[in-house]
Subunit: 296 residues, 4 copies
């Protein structure tokens, strides 16, 4: 971690003011090989729980894939890398109406509108899938949620544009409430390791139980591998070879298929929203452990 601590580039995202309250220099890492137990380390042992932000986009994607299948889900949203930033409305306006992929805000918002059930049931659906994927309950950080709601105009613009072309399956208000709630789940890295472990282990948990179908694992990792870091996905794959999903809070969930799940958290992020030290750590793991997918 000394290497990572030497990196002082990047800063916490300022458009969600609450994120500035996380210790900027935190580095926390949890790794679980498919053959073993989770190991966690952190340079600030008593660090607070941190919101998942865009890492949460995996939740509706996986839940809907399991419940509706890939054909239905990919009739709502495309799966192509976009070459644009996570919140790009120009891309949606020019190439839409269907969002380019489920990792962009437009795609994740669209998927939230397809969460089944009425009113509160939809929030229960989120809780259910959070519990299923992380094997524990996560709580909502209501201060961050309030902060998101106060500053979410770009997402509102995206949602109304989607609604204007008939791409939403629920009202803008209901859809954004779900989307912003989703971003506000909070956890520590060790609380999140179950999902990347599952994806690395073909959808099967440590007890040998199938938790996710083969198909869902394939779709999810392919999407993480091509669009998980928006317009840094290509250089991320060159350096690490690990399908991953980043969040602007500094989380990265990464998967080494067949070998390991990884969660890293470090709040200094690039302008594109990727943890600077987190990427450095993934690159080191990839190189030193031969975990680049190209060398499997």
């Amino acid at each position: 971690m000394a290497g990572a601590e030497a990196i002082t580039e990047g800063s916490t995202a300022d458009y969600i003011p609450e994120l500035a309250h996380v210790p900027k220099d935190l580095i926390a890492l949890t790794v679980q090989a498919t053959s073993g137990k989770a190991i966690s380390v952190a340079n600030i042992p008593e660090h607070p729980a941190t919101t998942l932000q865009s890492v949460s986009k995996l939740i509706p994607l996986i839940g809907l894939l399991e419940e509706f299948g890939a054909d239905r889900v990919f009739s709502w949203v495309n799966v192509e890398p976009s070459g644009s930033d996570f919140a790009s409305i120009a891309r949606l306006a020019q190439f839409g109406p269907r969002p380019s992929n489920p990792m962009l805000n437009a795609g994740a918002i669209t998927l939230c509108s397809h969460i089944p059930g009425e009113a509160e049931d939809k929030f229960r659906w989120l809780d259910k899938w959070v519990a299923h994927l992380f094997n524990k309950k996560l709580s909502i950080n209501s201060t961050v949620l309030a902060s998101e709601k106060r500053t979410g105009d770009n997402n509102r613009a995206i949602a109304y544009l989607l609604q204007s072309t008939g791409s939403l399956n629920a009202s803008v208000k209901e859809t954004l409430d779900l989307y912003l709630t989703l971003c506000s789940y909070e956890a520590k890295p060790q609380d999140l390791i179950h999902l990347p472990f599952l994806l690395a282990n073909g959808g099967v948990n440590v007890d040998g139980e199938r938790i996710l179908s083969d198909d869902t694992v394939k779709c999810t990792l392919a999407i993480m591998g091509t669009c998980g870091l928006y317009n840094e996905s290509g250089s991320h794959m060159v350096k690490t070879g690990m399908p991953a999903k980043s969040g602007v809070s500094g989380y990265i969930l990464a998967v080494v298929p067949g070998k390991a799940g990884i969660v890293v958290l470090s709040p200094r992020v690039t302008k594109k929203g990727t943890s600077v030290r987190g990427e450095w750590i993934l690159e080191q793991l990839s190189q030193q452990l031969g975990w680049h997918f190209a060398l499997q």
Copy 2:
């Protein structure tokens, strides 16, 4: 193959008239597992050699990576998926001057301008790398080359735009001569299997000799996995999980890291330049043999 033959969508690309002379319904496949020998099948046994087209973009990428290293090469061209089609000049004009990735025409043209040597030496460099990567000499189809030169105005526009921003390291004429020559190498699938096999086998050939460095294999597969099929790369990875490179002649080179190299050729292509039957065959192989990278 019966399944593939039932597909009658797609047609041969019409902007290179010579391509129309390949038998449209041809399906030819070569597969080589890392543990075994190459196996080839075709529905038209005596089919002619076919030009590589964009599959050749791998040649300067790999040759330059080996000779100059990733840092130098990626200072000339980015490695991000672009969300645009292979010949997009709008993308280059809007997001340039550096091309988005080496699989787009703009990126491959830029790389051709960095091929070392003077005049004819550069063409010898191509022959050298062709021989190294495919373990045999390939010849140039001079009729296709003439056809490319006659119809290459979009590529000329790209090259002059690159030159206007100082992105080329050689003259437009010299650079395009190399680029169009590159596209005109011709072969049968069995002639091409050596490269995807090498990439699947970590850069080492059947005799255990290292032919490509680890680093080159990692960069190349990451780029194939995120940008190898342009704006069909995402859905290709969802369906097959195989890093691959397509060519408008109907070739697809695909790699199952650690397991197998694949070459498939079938000339009916989508509007985005991907072999329709070729993709179907890769999808079948992925599903039936468990070759999706997510399930390694």
Copy 3:
């Protein structure tokens, strides 16, 4: 009018369902030379009042220019023709944050957010300027207003995008209420002639009273001449030479500086929202009366 009646291209805009209730074949024309009285003709004498739609964008532009001056107003919105359609959000996202011009939805929405006063006062401000510019009160068509509100998601997307970049001076809700109300003023052509007459007569009414400043007249006509018909402004000026403002209901207000004001109404519009027969009539007037500005 026989010539105009022979034209059967175009149809009423379908995204505001209420507009379909206007008689599609109506042609109504009012002309007032600076030297004379207004003359009105119509092929359906008892036609209903019709909403102004985008023609109303002139109201906040002129009112704000008069009250705040050009420097202030053009710090809120640019005055460049955009080459994009009236509702383009891609343009705003790519070239913003400041809207390209006050005739685009984004520009008019921005101007509505700068209407002075609190709450109901702002609506009174609109009524005041309507009365000033048209020399009579106009009423709101509440059915059209309801229709606009129900279908206004693209405008909501624009407004939230503007708010996300700090370009609005009032809440999205308040701003859109004003904007949609503005579009719903209704009138017959003879009710609207006062404004184009004023602009043709240098801001002075028939009684010789100055109603608008020189500066406002200059700014308004320059904007109408370059952006009044969005991405049909260039061909409109080639054919007619008359600065003008179109509305999707089929209205065009046109000005022949120094010579005449014109209001024409005919509901068949192009995909870009311009009255087909209305343009034809303006072209005839321009040619037969020598009213092209180039020949003044």
Copy 4:
């Protein structure tokens, strides 16, 4: 002129190195009212002749309009303001194949490909129209022409893109030779006044002879009024109300229909290629003489 001399913003365009040799602080003005003789003033009386640059785009436009008529010419190029800069290839790639308007490089290059005749005849055609429009012969600055040819890669990119979509009526080489020659005609302001005078006087010269048709004058002034200064056309019309054409050498030709032709030359230009002091002078003339078209 004291006011104009106080302005020190802007500089000579650096992409045509020869332009840097013109005295940067020169201000030269020629005005000819339709009722009188031309009057010329300059702060550096013995200043050298300066190349016309984009002002020359008027020559093929007017010549072709006279010889082929508006319908033919506007089937080759649109007449819409583009909201983009003069050399935008992104716009052409996205909205083409037909160029947006004849004042953009893409539009002027397209028109050059339609100049009639074989080989040298086409250059004679240019000389003929130069003599007709300016009532004198102009010579070519061969140093500037060489400079243009050496640095014209962006224009080559545009021309090849046009050729790739079948928009050119002659070879790229021949077309660009004509286009770059066109830009290299040189003159002093008093040598150029005949054309704006003609356009101000409805196509008729001082002796009452008709030199240009009504139709050509209308089309030309409408295009100058909407696209003559690219994406500064709107603010130019707000400030001056004068249809005009700018060139990167610092020339602006402006027309007050019915009243006067104006040529101003001052080499400091904005990033968009408009003479800074030239615009200031036009604005003063417009205000002090009531020459804004809105107040005719």
